[in-house]
Amino acid sequence: MNSLDFSPLLPYAGLLPEALKITLEIGMAGFMLALVIAVVVGTLRSRKLPKAAGFLLSFYVEVFRGTPLLVQLFFVYYGLPSAGIRMEPVMAAILTMGLNSGSYLSENIRASILAVDKGQYEAAHMLGYTPLQTNIHIVLPQAMRVAIPSFMNGFSSIIKETSIVSVLPVIELTKLGNQVYAKTYHPFEIYILLGVIYFCLTYFLTFLAKWLERRASKWQL
């Protein structure tokens, strides 16, 4: 095995910040979208819904959990234009990531909401809270506390899964790695470097998760 030599990669170092920015942009925007979807879908699915609405939400969750992310990404970017819906690759990536992760996280939110004591609803009702106020002020803050670890796992997964976006015409971290590999033929160094960058990003997220959990747990003994 040849010794590690990172020097051939140096001329491309200037491209790294932009690729990192796009990776983070897709990861963060995708996660924010997933968060919104998860809260809305999870809250709705924890309640008794009209049959059609319940079926639709269940269909969404099952389809996105039951099909590969790559297929979903191809469908959104290459398939939807046939239906007249075109979007930029970054937008397609964010939408797919958000929808995919939202389907998983909505189940976490649903379970967390169901874990909130029924007495909390009764107490809120007797104080005059409307069902919407009860959900926003009483139930969701308690459910979110329970859901934080799975949410941060979801965030971490999205960051890692952005590498799949390299199949689209967008230069994020993995795509940059592939392109530099094509020019330098130093795959060993390139993919070690990529791995280290992804690891650093997700490792930072584990600290963020612990900090968030501590903050959200200040009311628990």
Binding site: D117, G119, E122, A123, H125, M126, P141, R145, W219, L221
Partner: protein, 243 residues
């Protein structure tokens, strides 16, 4: 003048299990009604029906002479204190009072804070204002639950076994607070097994057995002069010492 709360032939079942079998009860303004009876007699279900937390199968419940059709309509008139407190754990002690005032009554922060301070003083919890409920004793939690219910200015305060999950010492703290409210003329319905404690301030006692009010009258009448056999058996069972 119509009674504050009136129940007319109220029946309630869970499947085949009949819990309330024709309840008739009137509660006047200023009444402090202790509801006693053995476990499973229907006491809690009765007050939960009044509070609109349970549907009834037949009969009628009136609030100030008007039949309660929409269960949500009673929440501004009735305050409820639960056996297990049901405080909001993510709020501090003072926030448990301030937030509902802000959210439901749309009160401004300054007024809500003043109201919270006044109520916490009343239930002797001023020192704990910035703590979270998880750090408090059961008695303190229940006193906070009382303060929270009072914040909404309910005409009638309903207690569902407020001291059942407390040690005698902590139960005493809670009864002291309830007694203070009694002297202020607060209308109250109290489901309890602590007959000795409520006998000091209840204006009336209703005894339930198998979903029926078997006896209803002044404390002395119920505890000393009633010849209802079921009541006598119940009182003997709880080793009640006459007042």
């Amino acid at each position: 003048m119509a009674a504050l709360i009136a129940m007319r032939d109220v029946k309630k079942s869970y499947g085949e299990n009949v819990v309330l079998n024709g309840i008739n009860l009137e509660v006047e303004k200023g009444d402090i009604v202790a509801i006693i009876g053995s476990s499973g007699s229907g006491k809690s279900t009765m007050v939960r029906c009044i509070a609109g937390l349970e549907d009834i199968q037949s009969g009628k419940i009136f609030l100030r002479g008007e039949e309660i059709i929409d269960r949500n309509s009673v929440v501004h008139s009735i305050g409820m204190v639960f056996q297990n407190f049901h405080l909001f754990p993510h709020y501090t002690v003072e926030e448990n009072i301030i937030k509902p005032l802000r959210t439901v009554k749309k009160m401004d922060l300054k007024a809500a804070k003043e109201k919270s301070e006044e109520l916490l003083r009343k239930v002797r919890l001023s020192e704990s204002a910035r703590q979270y409920p998880s750090t408090m004793s059961g008695g303190q939690k229940q006193r906070l639950a009382i303060a929270r219910a009072l914040a909404m200015n309910p005409e009638i305060l309903v207690f569902d076994e407020p001291t059942s999950s407390l040690d005698p010492e902590l139960a005493h703290e809670v009864f002291r607070t309830i007694k203070d409210l009694a002297t202020e003329g607060q209308t109250m319905l109290i489901v309890t097994h602590q007959i000795n404690a409520v006998s000091h301030f209840a204006t009336r006692v209703a005894f339930l057995d198998s979903g029926i009010i078997e006896a209803d009258g002044a404390c002395k009448e119920i505890f000393e002069n009633s010849d209802n056999q079921k009541l006598k058996q119940f009182l003997a069972m709880v080793e009640f010492n006459t007042i």
